[in-house]
């Protein structure tokens, strides 16, 4: 018992050290642009975990999830940039972004409560687009979002007065901006993982899964499915709002382009490929789908030149081609995802056996 606990503790310490050193290893080995890729991967993991609550736990197919990312990002951009001349601190903007995104979750969730499956997917897809189109057009008659030009010169995240946009020297060790953001994103990702795990194993988490399994039976058991579903939408949206705020501070620029339908689909793919409803699987899905395309972008040109002496396929189209093939392969051979919940794996095996 004690050795088990000690083993677990040792494992956690090792993982902690590895995560702390990761940017240095990646930065020295591959270059700091890869640490930036890592930063984005963490943002995607946060998004995937948020969507996992809606899709994975509660079984509500949401194709407009990126709208909450947009809400968080634009709230940060509006409250901390020269656009309105406001420069709110990050500790005020991020929680507010989470809250407002959560409210949007309830607002967009409420009209969909009676819908299931395909119908729900279509309506949420519409909502996602509505939010993007609103942002795109809210520059007239009153300029709120600056329309398609987006908002630039957004304040970088400052922690205790230290901007994360500049290299920080601590005891002679230089921490470039992308490293600093890495640590911030990592901390918030871990927080979101923690919240997800706690929610999954709770009265609320069980109610979500019950709704996914059989909504009528859940109602007959006395679950107020309306409130519990709205809670799923709100919690998922909250995570999206946090990720959005971080994105705005990190990029120092937001525009409607970043919040298109493809982004929603991408996050959904992370959840489905990784293993719906299984937190480690979803994290894996997020990391893979965020990092592999970048690896391909960097690797495709030199590899083709080495193999054929010239570039046959440009990396961008190759990326989509391989992405599509990978999706098909995973759905055919691992329909429950790359790393499914043990429970779901059993379910798929049982289906196959029939």
């Amino acid at each position: 018992m004690i050795t088990d606990r000690r083993k677990a503790l040792m494992g956690m310490v090792l993982i902690g050290v590895a995560l702390a050193l990761l940017p240095f290893l990646v930065g020295k080995g591959l270059g700091n642009s890869w640490v930036r890729v890592l930063d984005f991967a963490l943002l995607y993991v946060m998004l995937a975990l948020g969507l996992n609550i809606v899709v994975g736990f509660a079984g509500l197919l949401d194709l407009g999830y990126i709208a909450f990312y947009a809400v968080g990002a634009y709230l940060y951009a509006l409250l901390a940039s020269p656009h309105f001349g406001l420069h709110w601190p990050v500790w005020a903007v991020l929680p507010l972004g989470a809250l407002v995104a959560g409210l949007f979750g309830v607002l967009l969730g409420a009209p969909t409560l009676r819908l299931r499956g395909d119908y729900l997917a279509i309506v949420t897809l519409g909502f996602g687009e509505i939010v993007r189109i609103f942002i795109n057009n809210l520059n007239a008659p009153v300029n709120i979002t600056n329309g398609p030009q987006g908002i630039s010169q957004i304040d970088p995240v400052r922690i205790a007065g230290v901007p994360l946009s500049k290299t920080l020297e601590v005891f002679g060790i230089g921490f470039p901006s992308v490293y600093l953001y890495y640590y911030l994103f990592l901390a918030l990702t871990l927080l979101i993982v923690f919240v997800s795990i706690r929610l999954e194993d709770s009265r609320i988490g069980r109610a979500w899964v019950a709704i996914r399994e059989d909504e009528i039976a859940a109602k007959a058991c006395g679950i107020d499915t309306r409130n519990v579903k709205l809670l799923a939408f709100a919690m998922g949206a909250t995570f999206g709002g946090v990720a959005g705020g971080l994105f705005a501070g990190f990029q120092e620029f937001v525009s409607p382009e970043s919040f298109g339908l493809m982004e929603s689909i991408m996050v959904l793919c992370m959840v489905v490929l990784g293993g719906m409803g299984h937190i480690p699987g979803v994290i894996l899905g997020g990391l893979l789908l965020a990092i592999l395309p970048e690896a391909l972008r960097h690797g495709a040109v030199p590899m083709q030149q080495a193999a054929f002496g010239r570039v046959l396929l440009d990396p961008e189209s190759l990326r989509m081609l391989l992405f599509g093939l990978a999706l098909i392969a995973v759905m055919l051979y691992r329909p429950a995802g790359l790393w499914p919940e043990a429970r779901r794996k059993r379910e798929f095996l049982a289906e196959k056996a029939k």
Binding site: R206, E213, G222
Partner: protein
Amino acid sequence: MNELLLDAQSISKSFGGVRALHDVSLSIRRGEIYGLIGPNGAGKTTFFNVLTGLYTADRGRFVFDGAPLNISAPDEVAAAGIARTFQNIRLFANMTALENVMVGRHLRTSAGVVGAVLRNRATREEEAAIAQRAHELLKYVGIHRHSNILARHLAYGDQRRLEIARALATEPKLLALDEPAAGMNATETGALKKLIEALRADGLTLLFIEHDVKLVMGLCDRVAVLDYGEKIAEDVPAEVQRDAKVIEAYLGGVVA
């Protein structure tokens, strides 16, 4: 205390031109086992669905436990103290037996998101109580050894029992069973009969729909017979069996 637990007053429900229920009134006394029988399509399940809030009645009302029953939503009906099972078993297939019963405790517990995340003392104690009660109920219905098996992998008879355990977890005053013996063999039906008698002995009132006439006649204190959406008889089983209208509508082939 009122002797009547449930008083259904002139319940009517139509689907398009089909009169599924017409002016059905019946009353269930506290502590009795009340059977609802009738040929296929007589409106038994419709009555259940109206009572438990899945459908809204066109006319009529229910008085439950001395107060008019607000039947706007199934979860409110469950909160009022009516739990049900389904004719075609509806379990949470990919949750374990234990988790299924734990979901049934949702109604009588209160931990929210904050409690779940912080896992403070109150939440931990509530979770422990939920798990303990779920174990007790699984033991009560006799499937405790299958606690950690997914509901979908349970044997048919055990799934029925699990559904009853889940319904009991909501602390009902009235338990409504929709054809609990459907598809069971004689041994399983006998065991079910024992379980239902035990439930009544523990103070529960039961309403059930059943096709198995022998089971109904042997178990129920009173029986109502529906035919084409109308109640044609309501009495103790011995009297119902002698009723000419009932014999004509339903029992003819069985008794004669």
